[in-house]
């Protein structure tokens, strides 16, 4: 019996999930409250980002590389409201989520509405960088390059989170909700349309799909979850600074889904795990992080382009990305010559 047929068996599936659930619930008892649990908690937060960003990057095949700014908007909003206005978490959370979501929605409109074609990468990176510069320069709200220290811990329904363990369970719940929502979306008409648009935009239009609307919604959903991750990050670290939301950070999310597997939820989790762990394990070579990641990327592209857990067909996504990259750069530097995607149907 292959692993796959085993997994298709309902009973085996249930047992598998039960074992995973027990292991996850017991994990903090094994690790204790120390450094290890801190890394695990960071992995959980990054998983929220990578699982949701796979919806636009992997399933949708869009090079939306600027998602660090939605994490940043979520983090800064909650930090500012909690420190400057002393608002409680139940009030800062929804405001921060709305801020990140609306910001994502506006970027999406900029990407698909006014500017056509392969500008997604350029626009998203531009928006992300502008946001970071805003964090640095709007010092009277954001405290400038120094960032905002002493962000209070999360306190909800009379419960004050402060130990690593308590945060662990909170993050786990958030991640499970994220996974369920993304899974539900992927296994629906909306999710099928997302993939169809990635595969052939012209044919998708001919099937009656509102391509732009689908992309805007997709982008907005991922910005929402990025905002959620930002809120958790701010309160957990008790600090927010502009360096955390650079372009590198947005690239890191993409490296996570490329390594783990495009269009795969387990892959997104694995990718986040690996890329959060590497700098911790190899502390001494932390300065070479970018080089090491770059090398990993190159090796992955050659040996296993679909990612560790991705399905064979995510090669398509990579090819599409390279097309977008080429067209985007062409437009940027030559101001013409990018292929018209509707031509030739």
């Amino acid at each position: 019996m292959t692993v796959e047929t085993m997994m298709n068996n309902k009973k085996t599936k249930l047992i598998f999930y039960a074992v995973v659930a027990v292991a996850l619930l017991a994990l903090p008892q094994i690790t204790g409250n120390g450094y290890l649990l801190r890394i695990i908690n960071m992995i959980l937060i990054y998983c929220i980002i990578s699982v949701s960003i796979n919806l636009i990057g992997g399933y949708g095949g869009e090079l939306a590389m600027g998602h660090a700014c939605y994490v940043g908007v979520g983090a800064y909003t909650t930090a500012i409201l909690a420190t400057k206005f002393s608002l409680p978490f139940w009030a800062t959370l929804p405001v921060s989520l709305i801020a990140a979501t609306v910001f994502g929605f506006l970027t999406a409109i900029l990407c698909v509405g006014r500017i056509k074609g392969d500008y997604v990468m350029i626009v998203t990176m531009g928006v992300s960088e502008i946001t970071r510069i805003f964090f640095v320069n709007a010092a009277n709200i954001t405290n400038g390059p120094m960032g905002i220290p002493q962000v209070p811990g999360i306190s909800l329904l009379g419960f004050q989170f402060h130990t690593g363990k308590s945060y662990y369970y909170l993050f786990l719940i958030c991640l499970v909700v994220t996974i369920l929502v993304i899974r539900n979306i992927v296994n629906s008409k909306f999710g099928r349309d997302v993939v169809a648009i990635r595969e052939d935009k012209v044919a998708a239009k001919a099937m009656g799909i509102k391509v732009n609307l689908n992309k805007i919604i997709n982008f907005t959903i991922t910005a929402f979850f990025a905002g959620l991750a930002g809120v958790l990050l701010a309160h957990y670290n008790q600090f927010v600074g502009p360096m955390q939301f650079s372009l590198d950070e947005g690239l890191l999310y993409f490296q996570m889904i490329i390594i783990g597997g495009l269009g795969s939820i387990p892959g997104s989790i694995l990718g986040a795990g690996i890329l959060v762990l590497i700098p911790e394990v190899f502390r001494g070579i932390a300065v070479y992080r970018t080089i090491v990641y770059g090398l990993i990327m190159v090796v992955m592209m050659i040996v296993r382009p679909q990612g560790l857990l991705g399905d064979d067909d995510s090669n398509h996504v990579l090819i599409r990305w390279s097309g977008q990259l080429r067209n985007g750069l062409k437009r940027l530097f030559m101001r013409k010559g990018a292929e018209d995607e509707s031509a030739g149907c």
């Binding site: 539900n184 008409k189 099928r192 169809a196 998708a204 239009k205 001919a206 149907c345």
Partner: protein
Amino acid sequence: MNLLDVKRIHMSFAGLQVLKDISFSLAPDEILGVIGPNGAGKTTLFNLITGFYKPPSGTIAYDGEDITGLPSDKITAKGINRTFQNVRLFASQTVLENVLVGMGNKIEEPLFQTIFRTNKIKTNEIKAKKAAFEILETVGLTDLMKERAGNLSYGNQRRLELARALANEPKLLLLDEPTAGMNPQEAVEIIGLVQSIRKPGMSILIIEHNMRVVMNLSERIICIEAGSKIADGTPYEIQHDQAVITAYLGESTN
């Protein structure tokens, strides 16, 4: 009343006139063949009807309603669907998923309910999959339901494209050279399939190069040459039309 009324449409790309003053109409339940040499503008005509391009002048009326220049998603929602001259499937999706995507608005799944996967979504998904399965039965692809579309043989890809276009129960089906690139045996099969899917309430507009095929299949034929309509009539009339004969003889001597 006609199902489709195309009146005096023109189309040009970067100054190059591709369609000149084309008018024709299509009755309910009718099969209309569109013939003409390569580059005559047949596919462009389809792209105009399905909303991929907006004609600079002329009107397209469907079911008594002006649809000129509407976006393609609105046109599809009204019951017009098409296949492509060069197969355009969603390659990484399964055969079943391709048909499900083709069902379009036939599947009603509000996003808010999708997020929580409510019971309504679950039952709608099951219903949709059943309907998609039935469509796959008509084209004979149920065995390959879980196969990725990109892995199908060329002939089966063509069948799947047909199934996908049928999925939202169109009233007007546009087939752009469904036998292109096929060997004679496969071509016969696909034409048989087109005949078998024929049913009351659906008109077909078919671009086809093979004269014998198009003569057998269509009730009426229009011939386009270099962007102009040069003939419009029954297969018999077309066969004996001097302009058509010249156009085709002219092409074959090139």
